[in-house]
């Protein structure tokens, strides 16, 4: 358990591994959020381009 009372990740072989995993989790979450935003804006942009033609 960490200070906020959340379950921490599986017993780590080392603190560096755990920090690396947290970094990977944060990075991959941001990448997927950016992909979702790109689909959202991409379809609106496609319609704007299509309308301008």
């Amino acid at each position: 358990m960490n200070a906020r009372g959340h379950a921490s990740a599986a017993v780590p072989p080392g603190a560096a591994d755990e920090a690396g995993r947290r970094r990977r989790i944060r990075r991959s979450a941001i990448v997927f959020a950016v992909i979702a935003a790109a689909f959202y804006l991409g379809f609106i942009a496609m319609m704007l381009v299509r309308g301008a033609r």
Partner: protein
């Protein structure tokens, strides 16, 4: 068993949980959030079901009986939105929350606070949507597909609909990101991708679909909003816009959405059939590839929903053939489930009964889907009750039965108690009989030409509508058994051991029943993982 006791003894210090309302409002534990999702989905299932009862009551005989046509159209629209976005999708997310960390040997979801946020968006979204019933002009009545220009004529409830859809989409995207990140980063050492249970695999693929298509729906409804309020003409023909383009964008979301609703059921059936056949799943890897193929194909078939709006012959052929291609990986799955049962030591507890009904009845929905895929035939079937029969066979004995199978399979694990098996068997038989009485006659009505989304109909359709309505009332009433069985199990069920079903494999069955509040704080050993992954 000694191993389970040792686990419990080693981990009892992790079993502290917050109490009172804070446990739920500030929940970050995957089991608590999973429970909240499941309770929410069940509530929405009964609200959406009550709307279905209004629809079947009105259609019991020709003429206008109980509701005016505007309210009837609101009921069909709201029933669909609530069942799809309020019952089935949150139900799957609830099961994902409960099971994925336990099945991959992780202590929790990767992003617990995001998990809390993605759940708590939902009650606001559905309060907004349901409150639209009470505004001037009534609830949205243009169908769940929200086609312009009809939907642009919606009254005061229009912005409520759009904002509610945005909130539902945001919740789904956040939940999907959490699932992908958990599976890719939180698996126990030794839990390789091809050792993961099929439920985890199907959810991983579902989550990718969600991340790709929910933003497309959000983009489409944003454009509807600007057309309505800000003078744009994306979909307004008078200003140079193209209403048919909305249909293309909507179904680019809508067809993968169908697989979002059904893929987790494939995963659950792939867990249950081996358990109650006492045999490993036949063709594990081909199942994974089949699910991935279905997900890929779901992106290139969307226009089969709109053959009749007009498109080039080459496009009709492409979408017809690509749709028929989905039958190949689906056939692989049905073959593998059947082969798993072949020469197995079968027993027919409620989860297996629901899984078998899924196998037979979902296949009926698949076959009628093949009929609809054929362009010339679709010109006859489009917008008739045949379509209603088709997608309800896919979604009710498909998705809903799959979910019920999953709940009956894992309920003893969650509660540590066995439910009333004879009563759950009654629930199965009543559901299966009535679901067929409800939906099978709708094929006949559709083939005879009865249009969908109408409150009144010509007298020649009366008999089968009466039969269908009787089936609907029976199905609706028999679902009341479901929460009763669950509550009875929680209060007075007989305690069960860690492996509640003797044929069950998987990491969740290595944990005590009920599992500790924080499970797998110590990753499972290689031997435990190898035993769990015996597929």
């Amino acid at each position: 068993m000694a191993e389970h006791h040792a686990y419990a003894a080693a981990h009892d210090d992790h079993d502290h949980k917050p109490h009172g309302w804070r446990r739920w409002v500030f929940a970050t534990n995957h089991k608590d959030i999973g429970t909240m999702y499941l309770v929410f989905a069940c509530t929405m299932f009964f609200i959406g079901g009550a709307m279905a009862m209004v629809i079947r009551l009105e259609l019991f005989k020709p003429g206008l009986q109980f509701v005016d046509p505007q309210f009837f159209n609101s009921m069909t629209t709201m029933h669909a939105l609530i069942m799809i976005f309020g019952a089935v999708m949150p139900g799957w997310t609830g099961l994902a929350n409960w099971m994925i960390p336990m099945q991959v040997g992780a202590p929790d979801m990767a992003l617990p606070r995001l998990n809390n946020f993605s759940f708590w968006i939902l009650p606001f979204a559905f309060t907004l949507l349901l409150s639209s019933l009470f505004v001037p002009g009534g609830a949205p009545a243009g169908g769940w597909t929200m086609y312009p220009p009809l939907v642009l004529q919606t009254g005061a409830s229009f912005p409520m609909l759009i904002f509610a859809v945005h909130l539902m989409g945001a919740s789904s995207i956040l939940g999907a990101i959490n699932v992908v990140v958990t599976i890719m980063n939180m698996r126990a050492p030794g839990m390789t991708l091809l050792r993961m249970p099929l439920f985890v695999w199907t959810w991983l693929i579902t989550a990718y679909l969600l991340i790709a298509v929910m933003p497309v729906l959000a983009g489409a409804v944003t454009m509807l909003l600007t057309d309505h309020f800000f003078g744009t003409t994306f979909f307004t023909a008078a200003g140079g816009g193209d209403p048919v383009m909305f249909q293309h964008i909507f179904w680019f979301f809508g067809h993968p959405e169908v697989y979002i609703l059904i893929l987790p059921a494939f995963g659950i059936v792939s867990e249950i059939i081996p358990t109650f056949s006492r045999k490993p799943l036949f063709g594990y890897e081909t199942m994974v590839y089949a699910v991935a193929s279905i997900a890929f194909l779901s992106f290139i078939v969307w226009a089969h929903h709109m053959f009749t709006v007009g498109m080039p012959l080459a496009a009709q052929l492409f979408f017809m053939l690509s749709t028929m291609l989905i039958a190949v990986p689906t056939g692989v799955k049905v073959f593998n489930w059947t082969a798993t049962m072949w020469k197995g030591s079968l027993s027919f507890e409620p989860p297996m009964l629901f899984a078998l009904a899924f196998l037979f009845l979902f296949t009926i929905g698949g076959f009628s889907g093949l009929m609809l895929a054929m362009v010339p035939a679709d010109y006859q079937y489009q917008d008739t009750y045949f379509v209603v029969a088709h997608f309800h066979y896919v979604l009710v004995p498909g998705a809903i039965f799959g979910m019920m199978a999953g709940v009956y399979y894992w309920l003893p694990k969650w509660t540590g108690r066995m439910y009333d098996l004879p009563l759950a068997t009654w629930h199965f038989w009543l559901s299966t009989i009535f679901v067929n009485v409800l939906f099978f006659p709708q094929h006949f009505l559709g083939l005879a030409g009865m249009p969908r989304r109408i409150p009144d109909y010509a007298v020649q359709f009366t008999d089968w509508n009466m039969v269908s309505s009787i089936g609907g009332f029976g199905f609706g009433l028999s679902q009341l058994l479901f929460p009763y069985i669950i509550i009875k199990c929680i209060r007075a069920g007989k305690p069960v051991g860690a492996r509640a079903w003797e044929g069950a494999h998987g990491l969740e069955w290595e944990l005590p029943s009920p599992p500790p509040y924080h499970s797998w704080t110590t990753p499972p050993s290689a031997a435990v993982i190898a035993r769990g992954a015996a597929h």
